[in-house]
């Protein structure tokens, strides 16, 4: 029996069933880790039920504190959270948080939504310098973040009693200011309840309204991170390759041996995640978000529809957002390049070994069938893997495979574990709000946030914070049987160790450490 495609979440694909395939089914080691995660999630949920049932005064008193202390001894917090507690953290998260892929550099005023085109007076009051917005744009200092995917939100899009909205944010890189991080948020455009339908513009000078607007953006960002970054890119971008591997690459094929450690669990995990987590509103993932399943699906699709694999490649994405060469401190970009370079060196040497000449690529029918499968609309449905209809030669093959290894392993790990760390700081980083905190003249952000006790995000974070395997560790994999690859594999592991040291050194100088691309925290592929 082989795998067939489930296109119900088009343009994404899943396996329509789980095939009893020893290579695809998780082994006992994996299952035990996942079960441990589920147990942790259950303990968290149980604690929150008990603590949430306590009256407020008891919860904050001796009994509540004792209960919390016992809970934390059993379930230590997930490290690496950046709580959205201040402007510097808010700005930092755009470049080193759960969603580092929405912020873009503004090249002209037209790149900014109309409401964010601040006047000279507004700029002066916020930055205290004479530079106008146009001047700052010309200097390359202005960034914007728009949540176009969330623009379609209506009341019907949301789960009962939950609130999520889109918004737009204006940032300026201003090293002349005495800020902890060089990028400063200047203004947020939020939806409002105004009868004229106009949005509200909020700045850091607006006190509680600014904090509320910042929180709304943080919630919007979480939805894009979960649905577009983690799901659409981290999982679904490589899913066609995982399925095509099993349908088109015979056992013993060199490419299968290369890719299997990186794509081993995708088919199973994506199938289960779709059915149990994403397909319906009561799915374990969707239920922790603010929107219905239908709306969440639309958000996830938004990044993918009409785009090819080549357009979504790492460097292409950076170029499109004007951040490929930008001097701004951008840990996602800078650390990812280190990891990618290590993978690229390894993959290049593998290609040289597997395909001594470009002609040998041309003659590999299985290879071409594999990539054709990936791109076919009725199968993998991922167009534009190569510049032409087929891989042109060794260089393009190496480049494409390195890209695939990056998305399937390091990128997914970054997205997945950054999310669980983010969700750990549940009070400061709620997954959804209970209402629009700007709806009334008097802002009550605490009420709009609700308490973490009544949301499933903490349990979900702990249930899914499961690590398995390590990037560059191919123990037991077929690829290690080739003596000629022993040295390149060892070099890969050494490269990754050196990348680790570089990132650790960088983190000592950064506003906050960015840990989610440390090679020691990355896996070969999707493991949950």
């Amino acid at each position: 029996m082989t795998y067939a495609y489930d296109h119900s979440f088009a343009p994404f694909v899943f396996a329509d069933r789980v095939v009893l395939d020893r290579e695809a089914l998780p082994d006992l080691a994996w299952v035990s880790r996942v079960v441990a995660g589920q147990l942790r999630g259950a303990v968290v949920a149980g604690y929150q039920r008990v603590a949430g049932a306590l009256p407020e005064r008891l919860r904050g008193g001796l009994a509540g504190r004792a209960l919390h202390g016992a809970f934390r001894r059993v379930i230590p917090p997930i490290p690496g959270a950046v709580a959205t507690v201040g402007d510097a953290e808010f700005a930092w998260q755009r470049f080193a948080g759960i969603n580092p892929m929405t912020v873009r550099a503004a090249r002209t005023l037209d790149d900014l939504p109309t409401r964010l085109r601040l006047s000279d007076a507004e700029m002066a009051s916020l930055l205290g310098t004479g530079a106008t917005l146009a001047q700052r744009i010309a200097q390359g200092d202005v960034f914007v973040q728009t949540y176009d995917e969330l623009r379609s939100v209506t009341e019907a899009s949301l789960q009962r009693g939950r609130f999520v909205s889109g918004g737009n944010v204006l940032f300026c890189r201003a090293p002349e200011m005495d800020a902890a991080f060089e990028v400063i948020p200047l203004a947020i455009e939020c939806p409002s309840n105004r009868p004229d339908g106009l949005t509200e513009l909020v700045t850091p000078r607006d006190g509680a309204r600014w904090e509320a607007a910042r929180q709304m953006i943080s919630v919007a960002d979480l939805h894009v991170a979960e649905l577009c970054v983690h799901l659409a890119l981290g999982h679904n971008l490589v899913a066609p390759f995982a399925l095509a591997l099993r349908r088109r690459l015979p056992r013993g094929h060199a490419l299968r041996d290369l890719l299997l450690p990186h794509l081993r669990y995708n088919v199973f995990i994506d199938h289960m995640a779709w059915r149990q987590g994403v397909r319906s509103t009561d799915g374990v993932l969707i239920t922790t978000l603010g929107g219905t399943a239908s709306w969440c699906h639309d958000i996830a699709r938004a990044r993918r529809v009409g785009r090819t694999f080549r357009e979504m490649r790492f460097e292409a994405d950076l170029r499109a957002r004007g951040l490929d060469e930008h001097p701004v401190e951008y840990p996602y970009r800078d650390d990812a390049r280190l990891v990618r370079a290590a993978l690229a060196r390894w993959v290049t040497r593998w290609v040289q070994w597997a395909y001594p000449t470009d002609a040998s690529i041309a003659h590999d029918r299985d290879l071409h069938a594999f990539f054709e499968e990936v791109g076919a609309p009725d199968r993998g449905n991922l167009p534009g893997v190569f510049e032409g209809p087929r891989v042109s030669g060794r260089d393009e093959l190496a480049s494409t495979l390195a890209e695939l290894l990056f998305w399937g392993g390091p990128f997914h790990a970054m997205a997945h574990y950054a999310l669980s760390a983010h969700l750990e700081a549940a009070d400061a980083n709620p997954a959804y709000l209970l209402r629009n905190p700007l709806a009334s003249p008097v802002v009550d952000l605490d009420t709009a946030r609700g308490t973490a006790m009544h949301k499933g995000q903490l349990a979900r974070a702990h249930a899914t914070h499961v690590r398995f395997g390590r990037l560059g560790d191919y123990e037991g994999a077929a690829i290690t049987r080739h003596a000629a690859l022993a040295t390149p594999l060892a070099d890969l592991r050494r490269d990754l160790d050196e990348v680790e040291q570089v990132i650790v050194a960088r983190n000592a100088q950064r506003f906050l450490p960015f840990v989610h691309l440390l090679p020691s925290r990355l896996a070969n592929g999707v493991t949950l």
Binding site: R65, G86, A180
Partner: protein, 455 residues
């Protein structure tokens, strides 16, 4: 992750690490470790501040084990003590050596470091903040080095007198004490309508003046003190409250629920009020200064205003609270309290550069009307009376809290930036709300020799 809360529970934190070093070298280790991890550091003493100075998600450094007295020089009337020592430990020690502390806080549970961090004070025009008596600081800077600051007129020393924990960790100080003395203490009731007019004469005629009023009573009370060579009579229940005192204070969590039971509540509150003292007697300086250690669960806001504005400000508070009372609200359910101090050398203490009236309003925790008056109080004290909020008490408008210091604030922030360019010793409350650093230019350093006391 650990959890921490202040004494009242209105401020909580969940730092990644809570460390309690026992020596200066251990403080250095903690600071360096946090720096390697890229973590912010905040220092906590006894945890009595009502404002969110302490919360941090990185490393919370407690001075609870830094309590040693390192040196005493009776001849020069100086003591060197570590920053985690409490006021009680300090006062007991210096008293045993025939000395007394200048301008200590009333409550003895506070830490020496906490007093310095917040510019805290006692009462008496011959003293300013507690920190103004410091002749030498030992400071662990954010980069882990240890500095001894002895030039008390230097900008750094003046910054350390009220440092908000933003300059590093003060691990020890040398204090200039004075010979122990006794105080003739007089509790003089006054009709509330006469109080404002009496303040100038009370200040002119007495060494120490405090003023108490429990709204909506018609009677206020001056607590007056004058140095005397007459022997002191021992007073029980002040520095060492009885079990009964603690019991009544322990009932205070119930008070918000019993607001309608005025006939029961008012006598209980009156008990707290009476604990301040009555009549005339000669007491030791510590008994005069530290008259109530059984603190009910309350929350306080305080502003330092120019002393000459005190009568006008008092009239305003009285009038405003009477209007609230007429409307059935009682936002200050405990006490309105005034103390009077001399000008401080500190850069950003409320009494920086001017003799100051410290006006405090206290309410039982859970008072539902408190916020209404609090914002009112904050706005009027700042805008009409040139007031500066006490850093350790509840601050209703943090964005304006530092607005009354003129050039001194710039000097302080320059020093802060020099010592801690990566802002490791700030939390978002200080960084974003109080200092608004994201909206300040990294200006050219101020000439610190010319840093003017704002008088």
């Amino acid at each position: 992750m650990k959890t921490w809360r202040n004494w009242l529970g209105n401020v909580t934190a969940s730092p990644h690490d809570l460390v309690t070093p026992a020596s200066t070298s251990e403080v250095v280790d903690c600071v360096e470790r946090a720096s390697r991890r890229g973590e912010r550091v905040r220092v906590v003493g006894a945890g009595y501040a009502w404002s969110p100075l302490v919360p941090v998600e990185g490393t919370l450094l407690s001075t609870a084990r830094l309590r040693a007295v390192r040196r005493v020089d009776v001849e020069r009337q100086q003591v060197t003590i570590e920053a985690g020592a409490t006021v009680r430990e300090l006062v007991d020690f210096v008293t045993a050596h025939g000395m007394s502390v200048r301008s200590p806080s009333m409550f003895m549970g506070l830490s020496v470091g906490g007093l310095l961090a917040t510019g805290s004070h006692g009462t008496g025009l011959d003293a300013a903040t507690f920190g103004d008596a410091v002749t030498s600081f030992e400071l662990v800077t954010p980069d882990g080095s240890v500095r001894t600051v002895t030039d008390v007129d230097s900008p750094l020393a003046r910054a350390l007198l009220c440092n908000l924990g933003a300059l590093g960790v003060v691990t020890a100080v040398t204090l200039q004490c004075r010979p122990a003395f006794n105080v003739q203490e007089v509790h003089a009731p006054a009709d509330i309508d006469d109080v404002a007019a009496l303040i100038p004469s009370m200040l002119a005629e007495n060494d120490f003046v405090e003023l108490f009023w429990m709204p909506p009573s018609r009677r206020a009370k001056f607590k007056l003190g004058n140095r005397t060579s007459r022997p002191a009579t021992p007073v029980t229940g002040r520095r060492h409250p009885s079990a009964g005192d603690h019991f009544i204070a322990g009932l205070s969590p119930l008070f918000p629920y019993l607001a309608h039971l005025r006939p029961i509540l008012d006598p209980l509150a009156q008990t707290v009020y009476d604990r301040i003292g009555t009549g005339v007697r000669v007491v030791s300086a510590p008994d005069f200064a530290h008259y109530n250690q059984a603190y009910p669960r309350c929350i306080s806001s305080e502003f330092g205003i120019p002393i000459e504005r005190a009568p006008e400000a008092w009239r305003w508070i009285h009038g405003r609270l009477r209007r609230y009372g007429d409307a059935g609200a009682r936002p200050v359910s405990l006490i309105v309290h005034a103390r009077f101090c001399g000008p401080s050398r500190a850069l950003i203490a409320p009494s920086a550069g001017r003799a100051t009236c410290h006006l405090e309003v206290l309410s039982f925790h859970g008072n539902e009307h408190r916020h209404l008056f609090g914002e009112d109080f904050d706005l009027v004290m700042r805008s009409r009376f040139d007031g500066r909020p006490h850093w350790g008490k509840e601050i209703f408008n943090p964005a304006e809290a530092a607005s009354g210091y003129g050039d001194n604030l710039g000097v302080f922030l320059d020093l802060r930036r020099e010592l801690d360019p990566r802002q490791r010793f700030l939390n978002p409350f200080l960084r974003d709300q109080v200092f608004g650093l994201g909206r300040r230019l990294r200006a050219a350093p101020h000439d610190r020799r010319d840093a003017q006391r704002t008088d």
